[in-house]
Symmetry: C2
Amino acid sequence: MKKSTYSLLISLCFSIIYAQENVDFSGEKKIISPEVHSNNTVTFRFKAPNAKKVFLEGDFLFQQGLSEGKTEMKKNEKGIWTFTTSTLQPELYSYKFTADGLAINDPNNVHFSRDVATVVNIFIVPSGKAELYKVNDVPHGTVSKRWYDSPTLKMNRRLTVYTPPGYEKSKENYPVLYLLHGAGGDEEAWITLGRTAQILDNLIAQGKAKPMLVVMPNGNASQSAAPGESKEGFYTPEFIQPDMFSGNTEKAFGDVIQFIESEYRVKKEKSSRAIAGLSMGGFHTIIISANYPKTFDYMGVFSAALFQPKEAESEMYLNIEKKLKAQKENNYKLYWKAIGKTDFLYKEATDFRNLLNSMNFKYTYKESEGGHTWSNWRDYLSEFAPLLFR
Amino acid sequence: MKKSTYSLLISLCFSIIYAQENVDFSGEKKIISPEVHSNNTVTFRFKAPNAKKVFLEGDFLFQQGLSEGKTEMKKNEKGIWTFTTSTLQPELYSYKFTADGLAINDPNNVHFSRDVATVVNIFIVPSGKAELYKVNDVPHGTVSKRWYDSPTLKMNRRLTVYTPPGYEKSKENYPVLYLLHGAGGDEEAWITLGRTAQILDNLIAQGKAKPMLVVMPNGNASQSAAPGESKEGFYTPEFIQPDMFSGNTEKAFGDVIQFIESEYRVKKEKSSRAIAGLSMGGFHTIIISANYPKTFDYMGVFSAALFQPKEAESEMYLNIEKKLKAQKENNYKLYWKAIGKTDFLYKEATDFRNLLNSMNFKYTYKESEGGHTWSNWRDYLSEFAPLLFR
């Protein structure tokens, strides 16, 4: 195309930019933040010429010897505050800025996740385990948000389904991993913070995990969908759900399995069903798999424990030792438990292991560094998924 | 469950809260912002005790007589800045705060959208047309992110597919609307900013639109997927793509249709295909439908014009009048054009109408208030979708 035409088109583009809502296009040189350098150091930049003090807060600062996960940034002559880390371990990290006491997301980073009621910017330091969290040039599965009927809860509810690459064209039946979120989470948690689609795409491409569906339901029995995704509207999510220990999520779990097995091309045997969850979802995993001992051959209990209400409201929580005994006698292929050494549930998780030991209930145990964090939960999923359906 | 057990569980929940990453749980009374009152006034609250001046910026402030879309907030004794609007028209709105010159998203509102490279908080003022943007208690379609091969572009690419409620269980074949984004957008734009799933769910439930698939591809030919969703990683999106007027998006559009018609249960006749787009996507709609005059019976050109490069790089842009003539002679059911009175493309859009008039090329024309905005594009979709496949 001739230069004159090209100039016209470009000038039209600039008009579009100026006319667009919400868009800040000052013509200034772009600020790049965060900038992940090739040696895995990272530079953060934030323009705030009038601020007196700007801090960077991020989970990665602990490994820099900054015990509060916080460091002061330095202002240059253009009013841009900067901080460069030393080399960081491969990981998906989150951060925010604080300017004169105000928490601020990085305006130059459009990548973020919602963690319960907090929105944080994210970035990936590549290589090592973080290669699993990246979108790589491999075949990609499909991620769908679907609605299903739960007759038990008398509700139409939303869940997230990952189908593996090739699912749509194949005639094969696939195994299913049911993957459960923690308190304050919902059907969005594993797919965003947990990087489930990326981890599965990459593990499957490497031949390390079998192609499988991953079903991520909403584990809050009174909620039909994530905030903003149901008729409840744009509310702010809470950690504590009114019916958190009502047993209703566990009781209604058959509706999820029923929906998936009637709507997807999946295998319907115990040997092709796995269930795993983090924190509250790990508790749900214990309860559900013990109450339905003929349903799952693979259990994953991440950073969780068994709470044994002595007089429970729900039959789901009654006679749990007896139910675990039945689960043991029914046999299973893998009961996988993992927890971080500094997890606040470490003692309760140890109590549960002691109970299992006393019953001679076989399980595989992994103790990692760290605590009750998404970093650990992504690790656990990356390690657990390859063990399934062998 | 007994009180003692309940207390134990609640105290464990609180431990979870404190142990959770990224979560600010100070025990303070929650700040509710924005608060949409029953009379459709809205209160914004923002805690910044040390700030000297805090402004609220939002598209809804224009209708309050604030010509810059900006207003100063007032601080109370607790350091919380507040502003209450008068009654607002039903709409999905966006806003941000500015504290002493720093732009800040509302930390108490987890609901936001990305508009090209800017992240903005959103809220809905209900009733009227905005009822279409809400998730109501109606049957919901499925939204999927899928990857397809484009042999023309030699790329694996991502698109968004909305399938209507009942699609999975029905044996019916459905018609398809291909819905195209503007400059700087991608396969996420229509489903987030455009509220496509909500608008279609609601129109279908009201019997106003036929059940249809809506396919939202990525119209940037050099891009395989939205920022963060491809091997290019977490980059910042730009308005101007290097090959914006290369004709490649238009040329490769057959790959999208081919994929949808081989993978979904859809009708494959001209009378069951519609194509529409906003701004750059409206331009794409004109070019694609004119180059493939036997493909679509329904065209929607939203806030767009025809640029006629005299010596174009791509055969897609050559002899466009001749192609429009062929499109006219081939017949079609609807050519629907809409633009806002203050749109910066108004003159160019009028030139295009004049060209169509001179050719006696039939079209339906809607002139709305406002400019080049998502508010108009949601309106246009809400009006256009009911006209399809009749």
